[in-house]
C-alpha cells in the first residue's frame, strides 16, 4: 500500500523536542505548534485515503496509464488538468503545510534562545521539504514540455507518480538525490559575479558534487543552451540580465563587477533580482528556480535567445538519458 509518512523519525524527534522546550515558556506557542502539526497530519491522512495513481492504472476500464497521464500533462499542462489524482493535489498541500510548520519553528527560534540548538535540524527539515516541492515542480515541468517521444518519458512519469504516492516515506530514500545534492551545494554559495565567467561559483559548486555532475558538465558544456542555463543557476540572474551586465562591462571597459554594483545597475534598469537579502538562501533558490523555469518556458514559446530549459531540467534529462542508455545496453547484452 502506498503511504505517505507524515513525519520522518528525525522530524518527529525535532517536533517533540521543540514542544518540550516551548512548554516551559509559552503554552501559546505550543498550542500553535500542535495545531500546525495536526493540520499536516490531517492532510497526510486525506492523501493516504486517496487511491494511488498506480492503482488507477491497473486495468481500469477507462484505460488510464502512465502514458495517458503523460499525454494529459504534455498537452494541457498541470494547470489545466482538473482531474489530477486527489493524492497528488492533497499531497502537495501536505508538503506546503509541512513547509509552513518548519518555517514557523525556524522563525521563532530567533526569538526563543532555548530553541537555538535545534536550529540546524529545523533548517534541514525545511530544506528537505522545500526540495521535495521543487522536485515535483521540476518533474511536472519536464513532462509538460515533452513531445511524447522521448526515451525518458516513461521513467519520468513513473517517478512523478511515485513521488505523489510516497511524498518522502520513512522507508524510501529521498527522491532525485542528484538534484538534491545540486540544490544543497548551490544554496550556500553566494555568487561573487566578478568577471561573469562563473569561475569561482562553478568550482565551489562542483567540489560539493559527485562524478555524475562532472560527467554532465563535461558532456554538455558545448551546448549553448546548457551553459546559459548554468550561468543563470550560478548567478541567480536571468540570461537577459547577464547579457545586460556584459554589455555594460564591455561599454565601460571593465573586466569585473561586484555583486552590489551589478544589483544596483539592474535595479536602475528596472530589473528585479532573484536573490534578495531578507529571505533564507533556500527560499531564494526556490524563487530563482521558479523564475528560471518561467523564463525558459517563455523563451521556448517565443523562440527567443537564451536557455529554453532550466539547468535542473537539463541535468534531470541527462540523468534519465544515461540510465536509458545503460538499460538498453544491459538488455542488449542479456
Amino acid at each position: 500500500m502506498h503511504q505517505i509518512a507524515t513525519f520522518t523519525q528525525s522530524e518527529l524527534e525535532l517536533l517533540e523536542s521543540c514542544e518540550a522546550i516551548l512548554s516551559e515558556s509559552s503554552m501559546n506557542m505550543v498550542s500553535h505548534l500542535q495545531a500546525l502539526r495536526s493540520d499536516v497530519k490531517l492532510l497526510s491522512e486525506i492523501a493516504n485515503r486517496s487511491p494511488s495513481p498506480n492503482q488507477d492504472f491497473n486495468g481500469q476500464p477507462d484505460g488510464r496509464s502512465w502514458r495517458t497521464l503523460a499525454e494529459k500533462l504534455k498537452n494541457q499542462g498541470i494547470d489545466a488538468v482538473v482531474n489530477l489524482p486527489v493524492k497528488a493535489v492533497v499531497g502537495r498541500s501536505f508538503l506546503v503545510s509541512k513547509l509552513h510548520l518548519f518555517g514557523f519553528l525556524d522563525k521563532i527560534s530567533s526569538t526563543q534562545p532555548s530553541l537555538a540548538p535545534l536550529q540546524p535540524a529545523m533548517e534541514d527539515s525545511y530544506h528537505n521539504t522545500l526540495f521535495d516541492l521543487m522536485a515535483e515542480d521540476l518533474y511536472v515541468s519536464v513532462i509538460s514540455e515533452s513531445t511524447g517521444g522521448e526515451v525518458w518519458l516513461h521513467r519520468a512519469t513513473e517517478e512523478l507518480i511515485r513521488m505523489w504516492d510516497y511524498r518522502t516515506s520513512v522507508n524510501k530514500s529521498e527522491f532525485a538525490p542528484n538534484l538534491r545534492k545540486l540544490w544543497i551545494a548551490r544554496h550556500t554559495i553566494v555568487p561573487v559575479l566578478g568577471t561573469l565567467m562563473g569561475t569561482v561559483e562553478l568550482m565551489r559548486l562542483s567540489f560539493g558534487l559527485t562524478s555524475v555532475w562532472h560527467a554532465f558538465i563535461m558532456s554538455q558544456a558545448k551546448k549553448e543552451g546548457m551553459t546559459h542555463a548554468l550561468e543563470e543557476y550560478l548567478f541567480s540572474l536571468s540570461y537577459e540580465q547577464i547579457s545586460l551586465l556584459r554589455g555594460y562591462m564591455s561599454e565601460q571597459g571593465i573586466s569585473a563587477i561586484s555583486r552590489s554594483q551589478a544589483h544596483s545597475l539592474l535595479l536602475e534598469c528596472g530589473e528585479s533580482v532573484f536573490e534578495k537579502g531578507e529571505s533564507s538562501s533556500a527560499i531564494q533558490l526556490y524563487r530563482s528556480f521558479l523564475q528560471r523555469q518561467t523564463l525558459a518556458k517563455g523563451r521556448r514559446l517565443t523562440g527567443s535567445k537564451g536557455p529554453h530549459r532550466s539547468l535542473e531540467e537539463y541535468f534531470l534529462i541527462y540523468l534519465w538519458e544515461v540510465e536509458e542508455k545503460e538499460s538498453a545496453a544491459t538488455e542488449t547484452k542479456g
Partner: protein, 150 residues
C-alpha cells in the same frame, strides 16, 4: 576544452616562491608573460585585471585550491597557468584552509562560456584528495603535466 587541451608545460611553475596572495598572483602572471612574450604593459594589464577581480571576492575554492582569473584582451584564447607552492598561502578560502594549488585562468573578453569545460575538468580531477596530494608533492612541471595526463 579540458585541462589537457590547454595545459602547457611552459605555463606551469613548481615551486611558486611567493608567500602571500598578491605575490602568488604576480608570480603566476609572470609565468604567463614569460611564456607568451608579453610586453611589460601587457603584464601590467593582466596583473591589474586579476588583482581587480580578486579584490571583489576571494578566488579560494577550498581544499587548498585557488583559481585567480580575469578576462583580458591581452589573450585571444583561454590560457591556464598552473602553480604549486611548497608552503600554504592564505587566499581567504571559505573553508579557512590555505592554498597550495593555483590555477590561473585568463580568457578573452568575448569568451562567454568556452572555459566551462575547462573548469569542470579541473574540478573533476581536483575533487580527488589523492590527486591533490600528488599534485602538491610534484617535484617539477613535467610531473605536473604527467599527473594530469594520467
Amino acid at each position: 576544452m579540458n585541462v589537457l587541451d590547454v595545459l602547457d608545460k611552459d605555463l606551469v611553475k613548481v615551486p611558486l616562491t611567493a608567500s602571500d596572495k598578491q605575490g602568488i598572483i604576480t608570480e603566476l602572471v609572470e609565468v604567463a608573460a614569460s611564456a607568451k612574450g608579453y610586453s611589460s604593459q601587457q603584464f601590467e594589464d593582466i596583473l591589474e585585471a586579476v588583482l581587480n577581480r580578486e579584490s571583489l571576492g576571494s578566488t579560494g575554492i577550498g581544499n587548498g585550491i585557488a583559481i585567480p582569473h580575469a578576462k583580458t584582451s591581452v589573450v585571444n584564447k583561454v590560457l591556464l597557468v598552473v602553480g604549486i607552492s611548497r608552503f600554504p598561502v592564505d587566499f581567504d578560502s571559505p573553508d579557512g584552509q590555505k592554498s597550495r594549488l593555483f590555477f590561473m585562468v585568463l580568457a578573452p573578453p568575448s569568451a562567454a562560456s568556452a572555459h566551462v569545460e575547462l573548469l569542470a575538468s579541473i574540478a573533476r580531477t581536483c575533487t580527488s584528495n589523492v590527486f591533490r596530494r600528488m599534485l602538491e608533492q610534484a617535484k617539477d612541471k613535467d610531473e605536473v603535466v604527467r599527473l594530469f595526463m594520467e
